[in-house]
Amino acid sequence: MLKLPRLRPFDYIAAAFAVALIAAAAVSAYSSGSEASRLKVQTAGGEFVYDLRSDATLDFDGPIGITRIEIKDGTARVLSSPCRQQICVNSGALDSGGDWTACLPNRVFLEVTGADETEVDALSY
């Protein structure tokens, strides 16, 4: 059996300090949030960056036609695409940092980036 020691002042101080540190880390890590703030579009014609806070409808020329992208309420989505499979249109609105979609036939790649770096995923380890 574990015989528990009598805890002494510094034990409590150390524990309190640890809890304070955890709280501070939690606040600074999660309060800023990872809301999407920018849209990066890569096309055959170059790379473009847009602010997600201002709504817009954008047309991009690609090898097989025009890909139309809409920015609305801080999210971005592909409105229409000349491609056959429409994967990019069906992937819906990109709303958080790290979300992406692409139309390979028309060489358009969309990625939304957060205010901070994108979040760590399990693969990063």
Partner: protein
Amino acid sequence: MKPKSTPSATDRELVALLGACCIFLALIEHMIPKPLPFLRLGLANLPILIALGVLNPRQLSAVVLLKILGQGLINGTLFSYVFLFSAAGSLSSAVVMFAVSRLPDRVVSFVGISISGGLASTVAQLGLAFLLVFGRSALYIAPVFLAVSLLTSIALGLIASSFCSRSRWYSRIAGAEGRRW
């Protein structure tokens, strides 16, 4: 609680024994599955905690070095960047625990020493992660690591305290000067 300053044959045996315990516990730790590589129980810190009350700083450093090298060997991380993390964590925790353990017995127990050491190790590793690998993303994992570190170090402190208060072996090597629990 001043450890004897003249090293004797038994002191050297003690360094070897505690170092071996570190390596053994690192092996046990290695067998326990963990959700993330850096989330560890820190079992190998038990001998360090126990060593604090009975070894002088030089001998203590020897045990810590044995622990770091042994852990690197067992985890297979000796020549990878992970070793940097492990070394930084172990060194900073040893330094902090040594400092805290100089406080009088009535002020602090193994639990407080262990918590301080766990915090130092976690903060050092997070700092490295921030600087070297993950940048600001390291902040996202910080609360989890710190919380886990707090819990495991409390547990380790309790185990060390329980062990030292009952072990005849410990009371013999610690003598009258050893910590009273």
